[in-house]
């Protein structure tokens, strides 16, 4: 495990680690110990961006804080806290995903519903969480041709991640199902259903 702190202009630093697992372990520790002057803590695939108000928190102190910080040991959350998302598994790419994995569609559904997922980070659109299955991961290639229109609530797979489209947008993920769950509501005090660190379980429901 190596942790590098990389320069990022005059009000941010980027913590780079070797794996998504390290991001998952470090992000809660960074978030829980943030000193006054931190503006944003943004986890991503192999890094965590920390932006600050340098007048309140000089970058030199950010560097010291992030270098010395031990990763969180409580990385695995109680799955009782999981957000449960009901899905109708009838997506247009379900059969293709099964074919690529050399299994039946039922097996894809059993895997997707049987795995506790974790929100690793957000991006792409407000409320879009990149969900990781950890040791249960299966790699799924993106679609060769992205779709110009993917409906809100579409449940997809790409690379090692699963995700749910919070709103209609273009998209290249393989779509295996759809949910009515509301992923994003800008007017709500807690606008995103899926925040980094949350555990997510998918539950199959009939169409």
């Amino acid at each position: 495990m190596t942790r590098s702190i990389l320069p990022y202009g005059d009000r941010a630093l980027l913590v780079q680690v070797d794996s998504l697992e390290e991001v998952l372990a470090l992000y809660p520790a960074v978030d829980a110990t943030r000193p006054p002057g931190v503006v944003d803590v943004v986890p991503a695939a192999r890094s965590i961006l920390v932006t600050v108000e340098p007048g309140v928190l000089p970058l030199r102190r950010v560097q010291d804080w992030l270098s010395a910080l031990p990763p969180s040991r409580a990385a695995v959350r109680n799955v009782e806290d999981a957000v449960v998302i009901d899905v109708v598994y009838s997506g247009p790419d379900l059969d293709e995903v099964a074919r690529v994995q050399g299994v039946g569609a039922d097996d894809v559904i059993a895997w997707h519903t049987g795995t506790p997922w974790r929100v690793a980070f957000s991006g792409f659109a407000p409320g879009f969480g990149y969900l990781t299955a950890g040791s249960g991961r299966r790699i799924v290639p993106r679609r060769a041709e992205p779709r110009p229109r993917v409906a809100a609530g579409s449940v997809g797979l790409a690379g090692e991640f699963s995700g749910v489209y919070p709103r209609e947008s273009p998209g290249g993920w393989q779509l295996i199902g759809a949910t009515r769950a509301r992923l994003w509501d800008a007017a709500d005090e807690h606008p995103a259903l899926l925040m980094p660190g949350r555990t997510v379980r998918f539950r199959a429901i009939p169409p």
């Binding site: 009000r11 941010a12 991503a44 961006l49 932006t51 970058l59 991006g123 606008p191």
Partner: protein, 290 residues
């Protein structure tokens, strides 16, 4: 209280304040005024708190009609702004009578005017801000002809008799922007930072609130594998495979997969927000401690 009728929004008429920093981990861009100093100044001039919502008026063509007398201030771009056909003094508070028509022509300098009204532009907040984010769609829609804007409650502070801050007009001709190193200098051929600083760049017409694209001699990347998506900041010079940097701006996506070679100093983001298509840009290395 009704403030303005939008008669013509021009190319892009938006409500902006200082945006919604602090929600990037939810995938929410910072958004807010492209030229924050001009927004702050306009608000101070009419006695508002500096981060109050105001109008960001892109280039020329916008026309508004005042409803009821209102204290307003116009800052940012310099142009022949008129009220009922007469020149409107800029960078100071002006009391507009009911029915006065404000016209914003193509500016002589800069790109974005800011119009603050005493009490601020009213409306609903989303994640603590009234700013329109053109990338994510958060905030009010861009304004259209026929829209009616309301002013918020009159602030406790009086309209100050004079504002001591003088900012001067946006720069004409060559603009120099200061850089600090980004996290991915090692993705570029040796000497690329120097090439960035030595190069003559021009602002592409394909620029917007998401990013300001540059034209010039492409930078040479030495790696063409895919960078795992990582957090982005406003001012980051992101370099796609074309080698031509895009400087991310207020409505930038929170994560991106192109390497960032360098980052504008925060204080130069306001100048970025006033760059015009075709304007020449040069970079200098920022000195001193960050």
């Amino acid at each position: 209280m009704t403030a303005f009728d939008v008669l013509d929004p021009g190319p892009l008429l938006l409500i902006e304040d200082l945006g919604r920093p602090g929600s990037a981990h939810l995938g929410v861009p910072p958004s807010g005024a492209m030229d924050r100093a001009s927004l702050r100044l306009a608000n101070r001039l009419v006695g508002n708190a500096e981060g109050t919502a105001a109008l960001e008026i892109l280039a020329g063509g916008a026309r508004l009609r005042a409803r009821g007398p209102h204290w307003v201030a116009v800052t940012g771009a310099w142009g022949d702004v008129r009220t009922d056909g007469r020149p409107l003094p800029v960078d100071r508070a002006v009391l507009l009578p009911h029915g006065a028509i404000l016209e914003f022509p193509v500016p002589d300098r800069g790109l974005r005017y800011y119009l603050a009204v005493r009490g601020g532009i009213g409306g609903a907040d989303a994640l603590g801000s009234r700013s329109t984010d053109v990338l994510s769609g958060i905030g009010p829609d861009p304004l259209l002809a026929g829209d009616v804007l309301v002013a918020g409650p009159v602030p406790a502070l009086p309209v100050p008799p004079i504002d001591e801050a003088f900012t001067g007009p946006p720069l004409d001709g060559l603009v120099r922007l200061r850089l600090r190193p980004g996290p991915r200098t090692d993705w570029f051929a040796p000497g690329s930072m120097q090439a960035l600083v030595d190069g003559e760049w021009r602002v592409s017409p394909a620029s917007n609130r998401v990013g300001v694209r540059l034209e010039g001699e492409p930078l040479r990347r030495v790696r063409d594998d895919e960078l795992p998506s990582e957090g982005m900041v406003a001012g980051a010079l992101q370099v796609p495979p074309s080698g031509l940097p895009t400087i991310l701006a207020a409505d930038h996506p929170v994560t991106g997969g192109y390497p960032v070679i360098a980052v504008l100093v925060d204080a130069d983001l306001d100048a970025l927000g006033q760059l015009r298509p075709g304007q020449p840009v040069r970079f200098t290395r920022a000195t001193g401690f960050a």
